[in-house]
Symmetry: C2
Subunit: 344 residues, 2 copies
């Protein structure tokens, strides 16, 4: 059982998002409840699907408020449609709960585009943040790091990257438990002359106008080497890099399988090493890194992977609890203050 | 022993480039000679370092012309310096040999920026190609694929990407032995509405104005899944993706090591499976994918990795032999012809 700093934390849950809704969402919630018994939840979703599950759990009413809605956002729904006709959807109501301050954060495995668009409209962005970014933590040789933006902004200017650095630093302080996280800007060479004008200008801005622990440019291989705590990049490059990591990990597992299957000795070797290998690779299991935050939104919105199972959703809920408990957005405002005062 | 289609192929070698020059270059050459005895070589480099090695090999004069020069391009040299004062460098002379048609291709492990700049100045670009791109082959779950650009152009427009698709297709025909290679443009979603204007416009151009086997957009995880034969992207994204693959493969090997080391059973398992695993992972050994080509240069220039050992350099030489033997640039001109005629 873990204690939160804040009493009476409440997390809003969109129980209808993702491939395995609502069962993965609810099972994730119950697992989180065991670890964080003081946290309360508000669930939004369809009573016909959800009530039978809730009623399997004793005294769920003690820590869950359930709000019925039959509307939900489909995973392939156009963003414009979601915004226009999704006002009673489970996703929208979960975001509204953060706006109304009935919840400290919300979690959804639903349609990323719709979630971001609704979050922006309902909660707005933090003062002096031009564009929100999607940030998540990743496994590396040296432990957890943060990367952003992972796809909210397919084109970014230097000022956007500067703001990502400030927000990413706050996120890493809380998520990776680092006092002064090191920051790197992703580029195609570590020398100052490498790359495009945007990253060069961003590096200048971060270096000259912030107190961040800035390490300069890093390259693609530095991400998983854990060279820095926070990898700052535009949403196009970040999304490609994130998915390239996923794909390469799959390739390595595939080669490992082929190796183990190739003869009787390797098969026996697999039987002997199996348990230890699984434990070692657990670190790469994306479910344990689930829970991407929309940094820069004036309210905590955590996006769980669309394919999340109960373990994945549990981790997204716990990311939300941790971010709410440590007041991520206050920390971001504090980091921004520094630069804004410097600017004047 | 392998036969080439063309008789009298000659490959120019910059023997002074890379971390292990000249020994890795020469040992790679001798290994290639065993496989391709009909191919001739011209070596450029310092006689004091090279002659003692050559003289260890019987009858090297039968297939090697040696040209002495004491100048070479340092790995950290500024491109402008290389261009200005590198006219007698081993790198420049190897490129000149392609220009003079004394060699059909050249190979260097030296400074990438200097090599590209010299190649552009001496050999020029192929007609109707605006910018050369760096292309290489990569291991995937389904075999070898091609990716370009890997860093020559940190900003690209849609027309550049169209040209990369046409050149990449020719490169894959020869390097991956595919008749009609499938092409994908790297993006942050596979739907048509995803991504920035450049990739959207490029997809439209490739679809509407070429006969290429175009599969539309692919995502980062598709690279190593082998979803398409040719991954087309700008040099910034491509360089980040390539290095992210390298870094992630290292991370997986690291996790594997930790798993195997964790107890007596897993250690024993390692002993049993070791050989098969090494064979399976040989596919990811970058030395076997060594030899990036500067596509779009009017002459074949193959860049070997700066850290290449003899095996790596041998593979780069063999890539050059294959590309020269199959007239890669004629194939590119043919592919371009298609689109240019369509354009009129």
């Amino acid at each position: 059982v873990k204690n939160t700093i804040t009493d009476n934390l409440t997390i809003a849950i969109d129980a209808m998002g993702g491939d395995h809704a609502p069962i993965a969402c609810l099972d994730g919630l119950f697992a989180s409840h065991k670890l964080y018994p003081s946290v309360k939840f508000i669930i939004f979703g369809n009573q016909d699907l959800i009530m039978p599950i809730l009623n399997n759990h004793n005294e769920w009413q003690k820590y869950i408020d359930f709000v019925h809605t039959s509307d939900y956002i489909a995973s392939d729904e156009q963003i414009s449609t979601s915004l226009r006709s999704g006002k009673n959807s489970s996703m929208r109501l979960a975001i509204d709960a953060v706006k109304n301050k009935t919840a400290h954060a919300c979690v959804s495995s639903g349609n990323t585009g719709a979630l971001m668009a609704m979050a922006k409209i309902v909660l707005k962005t933090i003062n002096n943040i031009d564009r929100p970014a999607i940030a998540t933590s990743l496994p590396t040789c040296k432990g957890k790091i943060i990367m952003l933006d992972l796809g909210a902004n397919s084109e970014c200017n230097a000022n956007n990257l500067l703001q990502f650095a400030l927000m990413g630093s706050a996120f890493a302080q809380i998520t990776c438990n680092k006092e002064d996280p090191s920051i790197g800007i992703l580029n195609i060479g570590s020398e100052d002359i490498k790359g495009n004008d945007t990253v060069k200008m961003a590096a200048k801005l971060v270096k000259e106008s912030t107190n961040l622990n800035f390490k300069g440019f890093i390259e693609g291989n530095d991400i998983t080497l854990g060279t820095v705590d926070v990898v700052v990049t535009d949403g196009f490059t970040g999304n490609v890099a994130l998915k390239t990591i996923e794909g390469t990990a799959k390739l390595c597992v595939e080669f490992m399988k082929r190796g183990f299957k190739s003869n009787i000795f390797s098969k026996l070797g697999y039987l002997l090493a199996q348990k230890s290998l699984k434990a070692a690779f657990k670190m790469t299991d994306h479910r344990y890194y689930n829970g991407a935050m929309f940094l820069g939104i004036d309210g905590i919105v955590v996006k769980s992977h669309g394919s999340s199972d109960a373990i994945g959703f549990q981790n997204a809920i716990e990311a939300a609890i941790n971010l709410a408990d440590n007041n991520i957005n206050e920390q971001i405002v504090k980091n921004l203050q520094n630069i804004i005062e410097n600017d004047i």
